[in-house]
Amino acid sequence: MLKIEGLRVELPGFALQDIHLEIANGDYFVLVGPSASGKTVLLETIAGMHRVSTGHIWLDQRDITGLEPERRQLGMVYQDCALFPHLSVAENIAFGLKVRGRPPSDIARQQERLVRLLDIGPLLARRTTRLSGGERQKVALARALMTDPEVLLLDEPLGALDPQTRENVREEIIKLHTELGLTIIHVTHDFEEAVAMGQNIAVIGAGAIRQVGPADEIFRHPDSEFVARFTMAVNVFPGRTEVGPAGTSTFVVADARLLTRSTVEGPCWAAIRPDSIQLVATSSEAGPDNRFTGQISRIINKGSVVEVTVDLPPAMTCLLTRHGFDQLDLAVGRPVCLVVPPAAVHLFQD
């Protein structure tokens, strides 16, 4: 287990503050946050590249806070791979064992294993400048894995790739995680990527951890406005809760009263994901079970999906697949009916 306690790292013009994290062995852990939020600094601190002001980093009971990077047994892969440009692919991969003085036969055996696992045999003799983006990533992964690291640190591993290659490398990484039983810490600014890959997620903002938990929990139950907006909940409203008869809860915002299963009381926030709101033809009436009618104020066509905003008020946005959208024949100004499942109205206090 990798355990971080009360970590503080001070850099010129930036600080990581009071970081607490526990990452179980074998976890796929994603650190996600906007740019300059400190995710890469945290990753580099785990790798031993920044001086720790206060706090500790433990790796399986071992305090590694002050340990040199070369003694931590961690593998690091940067976004643009940081392959050694003066070495061939094979030499890049062998680097970690060569500096350890391992005999060539050991190196060859280990290399053989990774070459098979990552299917990079044809690349070995090439210069690193002759590799495509996806090939670079695979070589960087192989290089990091040569030394059998306990934890693999990935800094935006998909960031520099085009969409097709991204899918490919994504699967490759997940395969490595499953087959080798690796602990992976993956840094990204892309929440979609975090949800797609992470078992557990920490959202980081301005040098502090904002929320940690299983991917699904972060996705459905953000506990601050920052996290709700960062996870693209889109419909995030400040309001208050009224407890009705028979223990029902109602969230009140502007003209709308939303039945909810959440139990937060008083002034609070609501987050409603746009994919959980259903849009139906206008024939049906507004009703007590979170049915609202309104006019479409905006349609944003995003290719395979379409965002439709209806001004109730408040303005509420729902997400349809393109096919679903086309079947409904919608246009700006047209009246429609929105249905918000009470279970989809998540309340929290910031």
Binding site: L11, P12, G13, F14, S35, A36, G38, T40, V41, E44, G48, M49, H50, R51, G66, L67, E68, D80
Partner: protein, 274 residues
């Protein structure tokens, strides 16, 4: 590429195994001391009284004045002719550019006395160019003009290189945008590129000026008289010995150091984004 704060490796602050830092620091200190001790000793430990006397000596003063003045003229010429060339190097592609960019730096490594000889071989009054200048009343031997061309020759590469680098640092798209907004090439240069590069160009000009003032070998070939300060130092040393040479040398080192502080300040402000 890294946009994150503090991405540099702060090796020194890590625990053990930092023998590299100590060894490198030790070696580095040796060369730092080698460079700084002589200069500091000249400035702070030379005879203060002799220094005061030197500042009252008319020959010393006129020599220093001449040096400053001649180097200023050389810098002005270098500015007018060199900055445009630097801009072309930074922004245009033409055949042979790489070779010309290299050749322009040659004066830095040519022996200075040989540079003086080469200049004399062209600007001497029995050669074509020299005869041409003579016809309009300019002679280069033992004259201000000779001092100026000697200084210009050895120091203009500094300004050209510095101006070229500073033009390169100005995002070319700023010029492009200026053009789409209606600016002619002249306007784009005058209102966008030059203002953004001028601080480094000024620093380069100051460096050129200081380098011009420092020239000895090329000047002594072309013009032993009138006597610039570096030659005066040599004369005093030859005629009266070290003690007499130190005050003039110390003054020149101080002037160079002052100009140099100006350069460093300019460059630091630019890096701070002011």
């Amino acid at each position: 590429m890294s946009k994150h704060p503090g991405s540099q490796l702060r090796g020194k602050s890590r625990g053990g195994g930092q023998s590299l830092n100590w060894v490198f620091t030790l070696l580095g200190m040796l060369i730092l001391l080698f460079i700084l001790v002589p200069l500091f000793k000249m400035v702070f430990l030379s005879n203060k009284q002799a220094l005061g006397q030197a500042l009252l000596d008319p020959q010393t003063l006129s020599s220093i004045g001449l040096t400053i003045y001649a180097a200023l003229i050389a810098t002005a010429i270098g500015f007018v002719l060199g900055v445009p060339l630097a801009y072309l190097f930074a922004r245009r592609e033409f055949p042979g550019k790489g070779i010309l960019e290299g050749l322009i730096d040659l004066p830095i490594v040519v022996p200075h006395s040989a540079a003086g000889i080469a200049l004399l071989f062209v600007f001497g009054s029995n050669f074509l160019v020299g005869r041409g200048f003579k016809a309009v009343g300019i002679q280069f031997i033992d004259s201000l003009a000779g001092i100026v061309i000697a200084m210009l020759f050895v120091s203009v590469p500094i300004l050209i290189t510095s101006a070229k680098e500073s033009f390169r640092k100005v995002d070319v798209r700023l010029e492009k945008v200026a053009r789409t907004l209606g600016a002619s090439p002249w306007q784009a240069f005058a209102r966008v590129t030059f203002p953004l590069a001028w601080r480094s160009i000024l620093a380069g000009s100051l460096m050129m000026w200081a380098r011009g003032m420092s020239e000895f070998g090329a000047v002594i070939i072309l013009a032993y008289h009138p006597t610039v300060a570096p030659i005066l130092v040599y004369q005093r040393f030859e005629t009266y010995g070290l003690a007499q040479a130190i005050p003039v040398a110390a003054i020149m080192i101080m002037i160079s150091a002052l100009v140099f502080i100006g350069v460093q300040t300019l460059l630091r402000r630019r890096d701070a984004g002011a």
